[in-house]
Amino acid sequence: MDENNIKELEEKIKNLPKGKERDLWQKVLEEARRFEVMSDKEIADELKKSEEEAALAKEQLKILAMSEADREKELAGVKADVARKKEKAEKEWEEAMAAITPVLVEEDVIRRDGEARMDKTITGTKTEELLENLKLFLAKKDLAGVGAVLKRLAVVGEIGMILNYFGYQSNVSGLHQFLNEIVIGDRPVRGGAAYDNLLLQQKVYALEQDISSLAANQNDWTLAFAVGRKGRAWHELEENDHLAAVLWAVEKIKPEVAARHFGPAAYGYFIPREKETLAAGDFELSLEGKLILAFNAKIFEKQLNEKDFNPAAAEILLKVENELRDVGLPESFITALKKYFEEIKNKPDTVEEVWQEIRS
């Protein structure tokens, strides 16, 4: 590929009306520009990344080197090929799904038995100790052990911290990624068949439902309602469905109780600063958090003024003061938040001293 190809592409895109075809060619152009500035080694490394990506990149390079007529023809062929592969993959998925469905209930019982057995082998109760257990189970690719320890962490509301430790955000998307990349990861599957992959995925989704349910019960809304079911099979809930489920659950809670009981994880999630540390990351308001705040602003402000608001939530919300304004919360809310935080910071000496001893 040379500069002429890129110019030719730019010219072609200029003349195309806005729409899907133009978007497609725009993507081809972006790829071409990316490859243009890369060294041969970088291109080689890129190509090694995965067979799928490499095949795609090769195809793109090949297509770009063609004349326009050949390119159109080739593209039509590629599209047909993609459609065929997609159809084949969907058929395989459906067949495998039909095959695993009858055993899902039985497999769930086996999973639960395994978790109960492994739970008895967990040593320690502190987060650091549970993390060590988790690492050992992950190293042994012991799904039952991983499930057991993750549930222990979920009960103490520390799944978010663990997600941060592994470099993921402490929300549903981070949970999906952690389970897919770390728990499932490159686990060898018997024969590599779709059946085994799907069965493993379903087991992990079932575990995710447990973790997510525990989060929901503790008002950790950013981790709640991660998965849903169609028939017997689990799947990741789309963002809007997760949000709808969260808001449905939150609406059942009196706003005054929400003000008191909702901690930081009800309003947002933490983005890890670095991996392999249990230190808190940076807090970000979640969409569900914004909605909860927006729809309850008046009552929450009243609770703040009455010093009847969750202290940890107040502290964390102050860190995203400007985002609160963007949500549309009035200045009086921010003022109430600041005043409340100042008041709760100053505890009598004995109270503080006693707490230090309790913590130790």
Partner: protein, 412 residues
Amino acid sequence: MIDLNNQKTIEAIKWHTGRVVAFDLVREARLLANFLEKKLSSNAVEQPEDELGYQELLAKAKFIALPMLDAGEIVNLFQENFTLIFEMPDYDLWKKIKTKLIATAKFEERDILKKKIGAALSVNDQSLTEGRVVLGSTEVRGTVKNWLMDARQTLGSGKMEIVQLSQYLINSANTKKLSEEDRRKVDYLLKFYEKTKESSIDLGGMEEITIFEVDGALDAYEEGITERIGREIKDKVGALQGAETTAEIKNEIQSRYRGDEAEEKKVVAEMKKIQKAAAGDFKKMADALFHAIPGPGRAVDKIYFVAILKVLAEEGKLEKLMEDERFSGMVISYLKAKEKTSELAGFKANPRASQYLSALLQYLLKDVMGMNDDDSGRLGMQIFNTLAKKGAGDKYQGVVYFDLEKKEFAWS
């Protein structure tokens, strides 16, 4: 090292316990419980009354940290301290137990824990009510175990139906004389005890909320009950994700909620006249409403009709219409017309449940007065808001909602 016998320390520990209870601080509660348990077992407290006070604080901390306790500790808590939960505002015991159960992998083990909790309650000797209980021919204290025994003797030991339970709470010889507060406690105990009888293997005992996608809609399934996750929630999400700001949404809703200013003024004027004429007499108001229903020789007077409904709401007497056969008959007809005959039994058992007043208002405003969903919904929301202020709290929350996509009110 702090001295647990020092008055300042006692106050500080009370302060921390109050804080973990008020804000449901689970981890802090566990730390506090561990600390107190260790100190109390080492006889660090000299005065028996201080010891008792600390034991109570310990139990409260344990109730907050309940999902982190082992089964033995939980059972002990139910046997010795169950009634403490009535001193913990907003405490949701069942939610705590559910968290523990969800964390228990095997359903069989969940059932064992529930059975043990039920058994612990059956031997709990704490006083639940001030009112006493007559068991057979003996009058005994109103303890947890005695109330459970009375309920079992009256209702049998099988599964208790809600209707039976309601009958028991109102009409049984022992409950008749109870104060409202005591009756509420017995109600709570019996409903909680019933839940411990449900097996986690059965659909009715499933502790987790499962979201199902059914024909493009979302259903939430929990403990044998399916609820559709309403599209109004999806609309809220869509609205915030879109270009509209929260303030704009609120303004839109408020403006639509207020309705036509001139018409509203007429309604208020009419309300004053009705209030003066009826002087708080429910029968007069109910008669006026019934006779305002358009029919042969009776023209439609929307202002007057709406004004009576609003007066009934203002005076906290709207729900009383359910006791008037003319109006309860309308609810029955409405439910039948909407093919909701399965709800008829529920209506008979609990006519004041929110869905039945919703049915009556929909019938009166839409079917009788010919209003559309938007107008009737707007008035419905105004009426429900009045009821909320008059003591109904959030009972009617969500019965009417504002559909952000259509920009109009709708009945759920």
